[in-house]
Symmetry: C2
Subunit: 419 residues, 2 copies
């Protein structure tokens, strides 16, 4: 696929602008899930704390609950002596009222008994008999007490709408007494492959046929992002079948992704099918990138259809550039941070300007330094370039390649070995 | 928990060394899963390609399959003229034999007909009548042909044992005709919480009690890493109950994780329970880190037991430092690359030397620069410090803190906003 066929290619940012201008994003429906099923789901609402955490003043250390003022001036050489009037077991509510020069034994997490306003750590005390301790250090009021609401105040917004739930978030929800959480339902993504040459995974291999790997790859990428897949199967290079499958996708999904059917000979088949089923139809076709130049975006009845290359690598790159941002936007959430490392170029990386190029590279660590070289590959169709690579180097449009010794930013997609 | 109680704390690397010296790692059992269920599972064996990819010589472009020698010397001003003797549809096996000065129409992915050894891109040709084309550019033998085995050669190792399967890996397996893949079974991790104060998620909240969030958090972290959880519930501070639950864990799991029961007053309860059930018992107790200093490691009957703090943040850090590397080792795989960014310190971060400290920090992007400040928190028990933070700053043992303006490496744990 040369630049020639896409005279009006536009850059990624322009394409995304056109996409987001042409669709109305509204909140997805909400569903409730148990906390244990909430991992990687996205909060549909701010979470307001229904209670304080801690919900009671509790000891932050093991020691003695005291009246701080009794310890003022206490030191190693001048201890104060307090009378032990009881102890508070973990999880038990004390019915004690502490008075001046009294102390109550507590452990980390114990409720502070009434009247006490500080805890002396056990290390700074010594039992002199069954009922008496010496205290060798003064404590200030509130010292060593985890106060009511210290971690979370009732009424505070503790987690924000759009938060992707990780174990600590679900832990916070549990600590607030929640058993379920409201999340956006999974965005539904209908996935279709086209091409007379395609056969299903598991079909006996036939000469001239190609196993449809794109549908599997795209479906798994959708699932990784927290989407739900609607499988539209394979359509042959037949406009009526493509139209009927696209319609089914538009009816049932939030997003339709179709791969294949963008080679020159078939270049009009998928766009034509789309343009026949609704308005405005294709709004972007041809992006100034390599690979994945033939990527296209269409809108029909307000719903987006993404046209990805039939080449797996180009389909993956097109998906990450265009489908992924929309899924994240529908979920009102943000991408997770990417591991990017500064690498020294080991082998010259030529580049023809005008295109933003996504080079599959191999990164190694030599001593403290990361070094990088491009994979030796002959075509963009080679899926193993994605499994042999552990990094992607993005070369901007205006850069004429990199020389040996240049420093470049590489996004890591797999583990890095130490050489 | 002061340093005092753990006079013999050791550093993380020493603790990991002791752990790995004391257990025998052997391959987990193998199970077969369908490719669509293989995401994030780990390959139990090298994958040897059972076939070539492509499995036939195919066109890499749309155009005409030709005998390269016929095009030598062809140019815009001096085209060569070839006779079209047929076309090859996608997915069809041609029964054509091309002869000198003949051409066959092909599309990207078509089988190359017998006799042809190159493809001229359609852009460099012009149909002059139904049966004739002019060719304006020469092609070298093999040009624009994806050759048999170009991506994968039959017999090659395409994926290595220990690979964590991502969408492209599963795509490669599909393209090779696989429908299932052999992966290591999930390592089984038994998870137990201890403490008289703990109540189950979903139980009405009672004064003095604390909802057990550690079991949820640890279980989700195990699942994220590809492990299977065996839930041992909550044990009160009773040595017999703890022993009986630990035994159950050791019988059914590869790893046992117990959290809580490491405060000073209970400091001997869990280790004592462990030491009573088998040898060698506790081999590490007390790590020179903050938080999570009371973390411990034990071995009983060859199986590891990890003792994590009852404080959620410390439990998370202890898990990541000790349990995670073991799960990865059992799976024969490596950690995914971490997003680490260089940040400028906005607010002084004091540090007492001697401990490696894991500071929860907030990172923002200001222009092209990342800036960082520590969260204002009062205790290590505050789980919200993990949900408010989007980064972890590790301060080494010998560093006396960071001053405003210092550059530090921060591991991102959540999205970064642009300020």
């Amino acid at each position: 696929m040369g630049l020639k066929e896409f005279k009006k290619t536009i850059n990624i940012e322009e394409a995304l602008n056109i996409l987001f201008k042409n669709i109305q994003i509204k909140d997805l429906e909400v569903e409730e899930v148990y906390l244990k099923d909430g991992l990687n789901r996205v909060l549909s609402d701010d979470i307001i704390a229904p209670m304080n955490i801690p919900s009671f003043n509790k000891s932050a250390v093991d020691g003695y609950a005291v009246i701080a003022e009794d310890t003022f001036g206490a030191s190693q050489t001048n201890p104060c002596v307090l009378t032990i009037v009881g102890s508070v077991s973990m999880g038990k509510v004390p019915d004690l009222q502490i008075k001046r020069l009294e102390a109550v034994e507590v452990t980390t997490g114990s409720i502070i008994p009434n009247g006490a306003n500080a805890v002396v750590m056990i290390e700074y005390t010594k039992k002199i008999d069954e009922k008496k301790i010496e205290v060798y250090s003064s404590v200030a009021p509130n010292e060593n007490i985890s106060r009511i609401g210290e971690d979370i105040k009732k009424g505070d917004i503790v987690l924000k709408k759009g938060t992707r739930l990780k174990p600590p978030h679900l832990g916070v929800l549990a600590s607030l007494g929640f058993t379920k959480v409201s999340v956006f339902r999974k965005p539904k993504v209908a996935v279709l492959s086209t091409g007379d040459e395609l056969i299903e995974i598991g079909t006996p291999i036939e000469m001239g046929k190609t196993i449809d790997v794109n549908r599997l790859i795209i479906s798994l990428m959708v699932e990784e992002l927290g989407g739900e897949v609607i499988d539209l199967g394979i359509a042959p290079d037949n406009i009526d079948v493509i139209k009927s499958k696209l319609k089914k996708g538009l009816m049932n999904a939030d997003i339709v992704v179709i791969s294949g059917g963008t080679s020159v000979s078939k270049i009009d088949l998928v766009p034509e099918a789309i343009n026949q089923i609704g308005k405005p139809g294709v709004i972007v076709h041809g992006i100034s990138i390599r690979p994945a130049m033939p990527t296209g975006i269409a809108i029909v009845n307000g719903k987006p259809i993404f046209m990805l290359s039939g080449y797996p690598v180009a389909a993956i790159i097109g998906f990450n550039l265009f489908v992924k941002p929309l899924i994240l936007r529908l979920l009102f959430t943000q991408d997770e941070p990417k591991p990017i490392v500064k690498c020294r170029v080991l082998r010259r990386i030529p580049h023809s300007t005008g295109l933003r190029t996504f080079v599959r590279v191999f990164v190694k660590k030599v001593g403290e330094e990361y070094v990088v070289e491009p994979l030796r590959i002959t075509g963009s169709g080679l899926l193993t370039s994605m499994t042999k690579a552990n990094g992607i180097l993005i070369i901007p449009e205006n850069v004429e390649g990199y020389e040996v010794g240049d420093l470049v930013d590489v996004t890591l997609i797999g583990p890095v070995m130490e050489a």
